[in-house]
């Protein structure tokens, strides 16, 4: 038997970290934000459990966006980068064996999507999506091309900073989270209406990857470190448990 107490529900979400539903400067939120309060129900079994994905379900190049869409012997155009980090919970414990999915624009700021009509060209060797399963201590890595910034219809002249979208699973469905990673030093971060849906600078800083020259592969790819935390779990001291526990 393990000596650590059994895991329980997740720490309540700190809504001061997250953008509120209605953020008028990001116009898409206006008609898509619930007006009524979320009903707090806490964690039952469907929240403390969550789907599990196996390494065998993924292919060997799924986390290599330079390779997973390009023609034999070809590479996408752009700055070659490695994005790596640890997925942990709020207690600092690595979350192992969970799915991370990413998607992004190519180096010209264009997505491979029928709705993206930006003038920036598609890159025939870049699909723009990747996925991986976290390893020991929640470690993950992707190889990709640094996405370009792009203009988007919100204000008359709004540009997204370079960013990579992250979809994250934890060990429970209550940890499900989608977010975006930004790049250290990008001047567009400060003026992005989507970044600024997040109410405070300290929280925004959690989404900015750090350039890591020490882990850069010489003559090949720069490295960016992006550590991610999902909600932490309570221990279940002295709680009623179903038979067998």
């Amino acid at each position: 038997m393990s000596k650590s107490p059994p895991q329980g529900g997740f720490f309540p979400r700190n809504f001061k970290t997250h953008p509120p539903a209605l953020t008028p400067a990001y116009k898409s939120s206006v008609a898509r934000s619930p007006k009524l309060a979320l009903i707090s129900i806490g964690n039952g079994l469907s929240e403390t459990t969550g789907p599990v994905f196996g390494h065998e379900e993924l292919g060997p190049t799924d986390n290599d966006l330079i390779a997973n869409y390009s023609a034999e012997g070809k590479s996408p155009i752009g700055e070659r980068i490695i994005v790596y980090g640890k997925l942990r919970d709020e207690r600092g414990k690595g979350i192992e064996g969970v799915l991370i999915e990413v998607w992004q624009a190519n180096s010209a700021g264009r997505y491979r999507h029928p709705n993206d009509k930006y003038i920036g060209p598609l890159d025939p060797n870049f699909g723009g999506c990747g996925r991986t399963i976290t390893g020991q201590d929640g470690y993950y890595e992707f190889r990709t091309i640094k996405p370009g910034p792009y203009p988007w219809p919100n204000g008359i002249n709004d540009w997204r900073p370079s960013h990579i979208h992250f979809s994250l699973f934890g060990s429970g469905f209550a940890q499900r989270l989608i977010t975006q990673m930004y790049f250290e030093g990008d001047p567009l971060i400060k003026i992005c209406p989507i970044v600024n849906t997040i109410p405070d600078q300290k929280s925004i800083a959690l989404l900015i990857a750090r350039m890591d020259m020490a882990n850069t592969i010489p003559m090949d790819a720069r490295a960016y470190e992006f550590n991610i935390a999902l909600r932490g779990r309570r221990s279940t001291f002295f709680e009623n448990r179903p038979e067998g526990n």
């Binding site: 953008p19 934000s33 009524l36 039952g44 599990v52 799924d62 600092g92 999507h113 979208h165 499900r176």
Partner: protein, 207 residues
């Protein structure tokens, strides 16, 4: 001594944006071939999965009544016995032919989503001694949604169980309970629409 075991802060959420299909359901963005065609969550059941087959269709409406066409919707549910396929499930072994998780796009042209799955068994409520009415846990993400939304779908043909359900009974606004109950179509077919805002706004949960 810190007062809390929390040493890190949960990463803030950001909208899934208009191109979430590329990352989560690439075949819906026209990337059918990526990942060797192996897309996660498209099919929830196989011929060996135990339980009653059900089919769910619906749309997600914004505050103007327009269906959203760039969203994703995920289901997380118990198997026919009421067991979850998860290492956190301590009550028994769930159906090996059922992961209990599915993910579908809202269609890029029509906005409709659909799932083929099985009807879940009953799952105990928080204190573990009371059974809940069968339900699907649902999570929605899309452009304009700043933090993914949790809701639930209950079944219209479970009138008694729904009437006794501890969670449905807890809701202050009983006139909103109907937003969590699917509409019956043909046998085994249900319609479940989600309204993000306005009249008949769906009940969303802080879990």
């Amino acid at each position: 001594m810190p007062l809390s075991p929390q040493i890190l802060q949960e990463c803030p959420s950001q909208t899934a944006g208009p191109y979430v299909h590329i990352g989560c359901i690439p075949q819906a963005a026209g990337l059918e071939c990526i990942y060797g065609g192996r897309h996660l969550g498209s099919e929830m059941i196989n011929s060996k999965t135990k339980g009653t087959r059900i089919f769910i269709v619906g749309k997600i409406y914004d505050g103007t009544g327009t269906p959203i066409k760039d969203g994703i919707i995920e289901i997380w549910q118990a198997d026919a016995q009421g067991l979850f396929c998860s290492p956190e499930e301590k009550r028994g072994k769930s159906d090996p032919n059922f992961r209990g998780w599915g993910r579908q796009p809202t269609d890029r042209i029509t906005g409709a989503f659909q799932f083929e799955t099985i009807k879940p068994g009953q799952v105990p409520y928080m204190n573990m001694d009371q059974l809940q009415a069968p339900y699907l846990a649902i999570w929605v993400a899309a452009r304009g949604i700043n933090l993914g939304l949790h809701t639930r779908m209950y079944f219209p043909d479970e009138g008694d169980a729904n009437a006794k359900d501890p969670l449905l009974n807890r809701l202050e606004h009983q006139n909103r309970v109907h937003t969590l109950i699917a509409k019956p179509l043909d046998e085994g077919k249900y319609q479940f629409d989600i309204v993000l805002q306005g009249n008949n706004e769906t009940v969303f949960f802080d879990v």
